[in-house]
Amino acid sequence: MPIQETQTNPQTEAQTVIAIAHLAHYFGTGELRKQVLYDIHLTISAGEIVIMTGPSGSGKTTLLTLMGGLRSVQTGSLQFLGVELCGANADQLVYIRRHIGYIFQAHNLHGSLTALQNVRMGLELHPQYTIAEMRDRAIHALEAVGLGDRLDYYPANLSGGQKQRVAIARALVSQPKLLLADEPTAALDRQSGRDVVTLMQHLAQEQGCTILLVTHDNRILDVADRIVAMEDGRLLIGENRE
């Protein structure tokens, strides 16, 4: 079921990609019910690169899964491009997910698919592309991450940095409005980590894509427009670097 886009004025509404207000979240039921997020307020504008830091267990990952439509929003309001995720049904969540790029700590590429086929999987969900277009776009995306000569390599034959670059190509190939990245550099050495983040920054700017990046890695904080910190389920006021 298609979603009613509530954008009345695209010029101004499109500015805000994520709008979170009074968001709280609980795990467990009954006696074991435990609150993990408290009264979160966060607004992210189009094209912004936001880095979220905080100790493990602070609720960063939970917040990320809620924004990505991977978990149902319980209370409060969470809007993605003006679409309310609180109370959204399964179809709506699937629709949301198709417009978000994900980059995980592990590359999570499919081992039985070549780099090209993996990237193509990011396009297959969007029926507007023809078979030839899917191929062209996937090749282009891999060239953009510097892997134009590795199209038919299986993930097992690529280095860690190369795999993460394929994952970036897969996440960005369908030109999502939002890229959610969870510790994308955690499994990489200093140089490849740096390269991956620079690449993400560069490509996202090219496409006008908003990035929310969760990391512990202090070496990459400089790419952020804004840094927000989580602690004990609460969002601390972020510093604006601009």
Partner: protein
């Protein structure tokens, strides 16, 4: 619809072909289950086919048989008078008696005592629809002369070769000397190793305790244009209840029913087929569930990207169908050779039929889809919320 089909990445096939050794093991397992099913079904079909062969080659529209008869080897007897009475019924053109008994004779080649089915009839009448027999049955008028079934099971090779050259062979049964003067083709069954054809006179001389007035089967021909079912119904009314009236089709069905229901053999083959099916389900389930487990992380990623649960179900069923088709190929080729081996060893008619190949393919598909359906339960573990 078609274009979305063509857009689709054939993930199931790519997953399977990416690990050829696992695929080969899976295909070997499916082929094994298929071969087992083919052998069981083949033996079962040959059981029905071989045991109804006598009934099918009788030259009769309506058959009278004792109510105590169990199968073609165990026909019991009834009074010949019933045959004469049957001729009173309008529409009955001809009535012929057939005597049948299991005989102990000396195998002409090994000189060992063996069991064989002896059938006696009037050589002046064509009791069987076997052209080879009908051509030769005049010689049966000579005393103690028999015709021998060349497709009998047992060590008869040299004797048959000798008969093929036109030589006669003598042997003994019940203290009399028998002369085999020719060959016919009928074939062994689960009930008998083979058969001997003799005149009614020879039959009664060999088995002096059999009363000429007690016959095994009464074979009736109806007049041209008469309705067999109507005549049979009239016969049932006319004849006392110490004899059963069957049309030939009913008689064949009764014979098949005996082997299917009353003999343990039919049940054994059905159970064998079911066991092979279950073995196949277990093998395919193992392969598919291992595959799902190995790809849970990737599946969860796909779900996060916006693929629906049913897409992943589709991948598993795609794998199931591919396994069924690829596993069936060796599974249908191997039994063709095995059937020939089995046919040689048992003298039973076993061969591949299109119907059976279709049936086993259907079962293979069902087997793989069933396993796939069980394996999809593992997909519940693919939760995109656990990905971050």
């Amino acid at each position: 619809m078609l274009s979305s089909f063509r857009r689709r990445t054939w993930l199931g096939w790519l997953q399977l072909s990416h690990e050829p050794s696992r695929l080969l093991v899976a295909l070997a397992g499916i082929a094994f289950a298929d071969v087992l099913m083919f052998m069981q079904l083949g033996f079962q079909a040959s059981l029905f086919n071989s045991n109804t062969r006598i009934a099918r080659s009788l030259n009769a529209d309506i058959i009278l048989v004792s109510p105590k008869a169990k199968n073609a080897q165990n026909l019991s007897t009834f009074s010949r008078r019933r045959l004469y009475q049957a001729q009173d019924v309008a529409g009955v053109a001809q009535a012929m008696p057939l005597y049948s008994n299991i005989l102990t004779w000396k195998n002409p080649q090994t000189r060992q005592d063996t069991l064989i089915q002896l059938m006696g009839f009037d050589p002046a009448q064509d009791v069987f629809l076997l052209p080879e027999l009908n051509r030769q049955q005049d010689i049966l008028k000579l005393p103690d002369v028999v015709l021998f079934d060349r497709r009998s099971r047992g060590r008869y090779g040299e004797a048959i070769a000798q008969l093929e050259t036109g030589q006669f062979i003598t042997t003994e049964a019940e203290g009399r000397t028998l002369t085999i003067r020719g060959l016919i083709s009928l074939g062994a069954s689960f009930g008998t190793d083979g058969s001997l054809m003799a005149s009614d006179q020879t039959f009664l001389r060999l088995l002096p305790r059999r009363n000429p007035g007690s016959i095994s089967l009464g074979l009736l021909k109806v007049e041209p244009g008469a309705d067999v079912a109507t005549v049979a119904a009239q016969l049932r009314q006319h004849l006392p209840s110490d004899v059963h009236v069957f049309t030939q089709a009913e008689f064949i069905a009764k014979e098949q029913n005996y082997w299917q229901k009353e003999s343990p053999i039919g049940f054994i083959f059905t159970m064998g087929t079911a066991m092979a099916f279950i073995v196949g389900v277990v093998i395919v389930y193992q392969v598919l569930s291992t595959d799902v487990n190995a790809h849970l992380q990737e599946y969860a990623t796909f779900k996060a990207m916006g693929y629906r649960h049913r897409y992943l179900l589709g991948v598993i069923f795609e794998e199931a169908v591919i396994l069924a088709v690829l596993g069936f190929l060796p599974g249908v080729i191997l039994p063709i050779g095995l059937y020939q081996m089995a046919a040689r060893a048992t003298s039973l008619p076993i061969a591949m039929t299109v119907y059976r190949a279709g049936l086993v393919f259907g079962l293979t598909l069902l087997m793989c889809l069933l396993s796939g359906a069980i394996a999809t339960r593992r997909l519940q573990g693919a939760d995109p919320a656990d990905m971050f």
